[in-house]
């Protein structure tokens, strides 16, 4: 079980958190302008990387804030956590 460093609360047990899928997918500002394919790309297409992955997490049983996490899925090492809207601190 991970120990996650919530950017607002500090280190907490993984059981306090909820995973929210791939990070940095921005909801299109003008969905009506998009073709079916473009909308489907936003709606359905997600990466599932073996290696370094950018993810959304929510401290659901804590401050309830959403934040981003960089995690290596091959060994579950958390490389970084950062607030929504911030640039990832690692590549």
């Amino acid at each position: 079980m991970f120990l996650i460093n919530c950017p607002f609360c500090g280190e907490r047990e993984q059981s306090e958190f909820k995973a929210g899928g791939e990070a940095h997918i921005v909801r299109p500002k003008q969905p009506t302008e998009l073709s079916d394919d473009e909308w489907a790309e936003y709606l359905f297409m997600r990466k599932n990387i073996k290696g370094v992955q950018f993810e959304r997490w929510n401290h659901v049983h804590g401050c309830r804030k959403w934040f981003n996490m960089v995690r290596d899925t091959s060994n579950d090492q958390i490389k970084a956590v950062y607030k929504m809207g911030e640039k990832p601190p690692v590549k």
Binding site: M1, T32, W39, L43, V60, W66
Partner: protein
């Protein structure tokens, strides 16, 4: 059997404290400090069980948690009965009752033993191959296979014991209190680390604590004496917590470990009352030191499983720790030096050793010379080729090994014995290390896997790290711990060690026999009866991966998880396949290390605490008024209120009729309520609901439908504008938490610029809904000050009011199609206001109704229930709710998805009403809907989602989803059931009062 098996020399046994216990219905005696295994051995009993497949007699093989054979049923026929308990780990107590497993009628005479004679036709994969055909016979086979499968009996009644969970946070966790674990714990604690030391045994010190040999010394003291002083010293350290009888079950990522602490299992039953039996420790450690030691390997030769054949280290432990001789005429069989330590322990007590068989041609160690000096015959370069004796070993035959160790040569010699101690060297216990994600490497010299890459802040020390000599263990422990903890002060100055052992061994995974392999029974996995022959067969049949061979032969799949034989299986595979050992890796070591009871896993989460439930503020009234309850999410909701032996149908019919004829009252407190405030609150609602919100006047209510971004209906409910920038949203009962989460997600991640604040207020208010033609009269009695006229308080509006000076919110909204009011009041006044309404409605036959009637009433009106009539595959268009989807709004969650090529298909499943040909026939919810039953295969058009008998319409009504249903009004369809086909007609989903006359009636 004679009494001279007990040597009263052990300080671990309290001879003044005699303990009686029952094994297989016979009473025996042991002493306090005994395990069940040591007490049985002291009584001359080796045969304790039967093997799984061949029902071969099996005896106690080891002295610890790795035991494959001596697994017994504890507490027969009581609510505490527990199968597969290792007799080597059970500490005896007065009144202990245990029995053998997997035998009938008794362990001494077991009918299943016939399988042993049938063994030539029961090879690996026998069941897979034999019961393949004819396929239709499987049901007949299954009965017999199931009957013979499994070991032990599970309890039939609830577990009477108490269990609990506990979190522990520490700087350093030391697993294993052997010599290196003790040293590590002392160094950590003395250097200011908050340290936890755990060991699965009932005593500290591991195998060194009973090592009285003159050949292993520390600072010129006998090892056990030196260690005793160390233990004495660390037990006084404030920084150190020590837990014995605590077995680490799992080692997860980020140094999170689970351990089982055994608190009462060693006590007499009458002393366990009201005490916690076992505790699951959830340990988060900054640093972990693994000192789990090593497990002695058996040797693989023909008939190596007879009772009386034991690990050599176990024989040593039984005599040194428990003062019990395992045999009166012993033979030891080895490929390394450790049996000479066992030999010295036996010699010291004058126990006869008939011979020592050593695979090695040359033996060169102080201790072996000492053994030879005692006139013990050592057969160098020999191997055991067979053993004899059915219920207990009585003889072995030995032959000389060829130079390459692949064959046996010369004459066969037979030797008598009643106990054979075997040692094939040592296997580091790397189970926990690999569970944590650690990578192993293979060391060729002594054919072992040792830790290589650590995935977290941890280290392995001692023999689990492949260090076997006393001097090596102490030296490496000191240097590794200093480095690992980054400390200078080691607490140990100038340690000097003496060891008499030479660590060289002659490793032969499968010892040769004078018989061909096919004729031998050389057991690799004792518990599952997997032999070397089975492994070779698996390879012949094309299995290559170790994971496949394991599953095909069941090697390592018993309750002991192959702690003894897995390495030999790997060795035999690589020898047979001609590959290099280590190339195959190992099978995966999975948690738990030793089996856990279900009680430990669930802890206190039993009975009503299994899953928490939520009660409304009016719950007690429902209970007092005979309500039946239904679970909705975590809520207990009143389902219906049976009167005078009514069944559910009768109660619901009565409640439904009363609500429409006069007045009904419903506890709606479980509906989710979210308080929404902020200058952008209206804009926010515009974005999350399908309809428009900007123009909703203060004091008005509006029904909203919420979609997922994929266009599918997610939730619904009425939202009220309380003020310019203040709304209260209601959600479905089950969806409340998810809706709040979804709204927060959008606010925080997509629209952080919006000035909106959300709070869940579900639990803050009690919600009472009063409906029916007399609702107005009732509410006016409860709140006389409130003007209920249609002009001042029209449908879909809200008013602030006071009941007994307590503020409340009253909404005129309806989920039944009747004139109705919803009173929201501070939760702690909920019950008294409910009672007030009941009192006020007395003259109008006010009838409390539950969720079932609520569902019926809304179905009459064709109102959907999200999650019952919808299932995340239906858009509002599919639900024929186009009216609620704004055409003008530029965007809202899910809008774009409503005109994807898939969502605009005409033949999507759409919500329709269904009327049965026979109005008395009520459809089954979930039943399939078809048009043509002659076509093969029959095309499934949809299914029934809601179905009731309506007492108000006096006919059966149903809602369902049907492909293209929107354009099928009036069409006949069929509901095929098990023994009949029901004819239905597609109808408008609104069955009652489509014009809304009841809702708008002047009352």
């Amino acid at each position: 059997m004679s009494n001279n098996l007990r040597f009263k020399t052990s300080k671990f046994i309290d001879e003044t404290y005699r303990v009686s216990f029952k094994f297989n219905n016979k009473t025996y005696f042991g002493f306090k400090g005994d395990t069940l295994a040591s007490a049985l051995l002291a009584n001359g009993i080796h045969l304790v069980g039967r093997s799984f497949k061949y029902h071969r007699p099996r005896g106690i093989m080891t002295s610890g948690s790795e035991e494959p054979n001596a697994i017994i049923q504890l507490h027969d026929n009581s609510s505490r009965t527990e199968p597969n308990v290792r007799a080597t780990e059970v500490e005896i107590y007065e009144g202990l009752v245990a029995s053998s497993q997997n035998c009938w009628p008794s362990v001494n005479f077991d009918i299943g033993g016939i399988n042993n004679l049938l063994s030539p036709i029961l090879p690996a994969g026998f069941y897979y191959k034999t019961f393949m055909w004819p396929a239709s016979f499987w049901e007949k086979y299954e009965y017999f296979i199931r009957k013979s499968a499994g070991l032990g009996k599970s309890p039939k009644v609830a577990d009477p014991d108490i269990y609990e969970h506990k979190y522990i946070h520490c700087d350093v966790l030391v697993i294993g209190a052997g010599i290196s674990g003790i040293m590590a714990a002392k160094m950590a604690a003395k250097n200011g680390f908050k340290t936890l030391l755990v060991d699965e045994k009932s005593y500290l010190g591991g195998s060194s604590i009973y090592d009285n040999s003159e050949f292993s010394k520390i600072n010129n003291q006998i090892t056990s004496s030196w260690l005793e002083k160390e233990i004495n010293e660390i037990s006084k350290l404030e920084n150190l917590e020590i837990k014995i009888r605590t077995s680490v079950a799992a080692y997860h990522g980020y140094n999170f470990l689970l351990a089982r602490e055994n608190l009462t299992d060693h006590l007499p039953i009458n002393q366990r009352e009201n005490k916690v039996r076992q505790r699951l420790l959830k340990i988060r450690a900054k640093k972990v030191i693994t000192a789990t030691g090593s497990i002695e390997r058996p040797l693989i030769f023909d008939n190596n499983d007879r009772p009386g054949i034991m690990l050599s280290s176990a024989i040593k432990k039984y005599i040194d720790l428990y003062g019990v001789a395992c045999g009166e005429n012993n033979i030891l069989f080895t490929n390394n030096d450790t049996v000479y330590e066992t030999a010295m322990s036996l010699i010291q007590r004058g126990i006869k050793i008939n011979a020592i068989i050593d695979n090695r041609e040359q033996i060169d160690s102080k201790i072996s010379y000492e053994v030879e000096k005692n006139n013990i015959k050592i057969y160098k370069g020999y191997s055991v080729v067979d053993t004899y004796g059915y219920r207990r070993i009585n003889k072995i035959s030995i032959m000389k090994l060829s130079k390459d160790g692949q064959t046996v040569i010369g004459d066969k010699t037979k030797l008598n014995c009643d106990c054979l101690g075997v040692s094939g060297g040592w296997t580091p216990a790397v189970h926990l290390f690999t569970q944590s994600g650690g990578k192993l490497k293979f060391r060729d010299e002594d054919q072992i896997f040792i830790p290589n890459v650590y995935p977290s802040d941890q280290i392995s020390i001692g023999s689990c790290n492949g260090e076997f000599g006393l001097d090596e263990i102490i030296k490496n422990t000191l240097s590794s711990i200093k480095k690992f903890l980054n400390i200078d002060n080691s607490e140990y100055k100038n340690i000097e060690t003496v060891s008499g052992l030479n660590l060289l061994k002659r490793n032969i995974w499968l010892l040769p026999s004078d018989k061909p392999v096919g004729k031998t029974k050389s057991f690799v996995d004792y518990q599952n009866d997997a032999t070397a022959k089975d492994i070779k067969l698996a390879l012949r049949e094309g299995f290559r991966s170790i994971e496949h061979v394991k599953r095909y032969t069941t090697t390592g799949m018993g309750t002991d998880q192959g702690k003894l034989g897995n390495m030999h299986a790997l060795g035999i595979i690589s020898e047979t396949a001609g590959t290099k050992m280590g190339e195959h890796g190992t099978t995966t070591f999975r948690p738990p290390y030793t089996p856990l009871t279900f009680g430990t896993i669930v802890g206190r989460n039993v009975g009503e605490f299994f899953d928490i439930f939520r009660r409304t503020p009016i719950h007690d009234w429902h209970v007092a008024n005979n309500a039946e309850f239904e679970n909705v999410g975590q809520w207990k909701r009143a389902w219906y209120y049976p009167k005078d032996n009514e069944n559910m149908h009768q109660a619901v019919q009565r409640e439904s009729k009363a609500a429409r004829d006069s007045a009904g009252i419903l506890d709606a407190s479980t509906l989710g309520k979210i308080d929404i405030q902020g200058t952008d609150a209206s804009e926010f609602l515009n974005r999350v609901y399908t309809n428009a919100w900007s123009k909703l006047a203060v004091g008005k209510c509006r029904y909203g439908l919420m979609l997922n971004e994929d266009g599918m209906v997610y939730d619904d409910g009425v939202t009220t504008r309380l003020g310019e920038n203040h709304y209260i949203m209601t959600t479905t009962t089950g969806g409340a938490a998810n809706v709040l989460g979804k709204l927060e997600d959008y606010l925080q991640t997509e629209w952080p610029e919006l000035d909106v604040y959300l709070s869940s207020v579900t639990d803050h208010y009690a919600t009472i809904s009063v409906c029916g033609p007399n609702s107005k009269k009732i509410v006016s009695k409860v709140i006389p000050d409130l003007d209920l006229s249609d002009e001042k308080f029209p449908h879909m509006s809200f008013k602030n009011a006071k009941i007994n000076n307590i503020k409340c919110r009253v909404m005129r909204i309806s989920f039944t199609g009747e004139h109705s009011y919803e009173i929201n009041i501070q939760a702690n006044f909920g019950k008294s206001v409910w009672e007030k309404c009941m009192e006020a409605g007395k003259d109008f036959n006010i009838t409390p109704y539950g969720t079932e009637t609520m569902h019926l009433l809304r179905a009459e009106k064709g109102f959907i229930i999200v999650g019952q009539d919808t299932d995340a595959t239906l858009t509002p268009i599919d639900l024929q709710m186009d009216w609620i989807v704004s055409k003008k709004k530029y965007d809202f969650i899910g809008k774009r998805s409503l005109y994807r090529s898939d969502t605009i298909r005409e033949d999507r499943k759409q919500l329709v009403g269904l009327l049965t040909e026979n109005p008395e026939e009520v459809l089954e919810e979930g039943a399939q809907i078809v048009a043509d039953i002659k076509k093969s295969p029959i095309e499934m058009l949809g299914h029934v989602t809601s179905s009731y008998y309506s007492p108000n319409l006096k006919k059966s009504i149903a809602l369902g989803v049907v492909k293209g249903g929107k354009n099928m009004l009036g069409q006949k369809l069929i509901i095929p059931m098990e023994n009949k086909n029901i004819n239905v007609t597609v109808a408008d989903p609104v069955f009652l009062d489509k014009e809304g006359e009841r809702l708008n009636a002047k009352l």
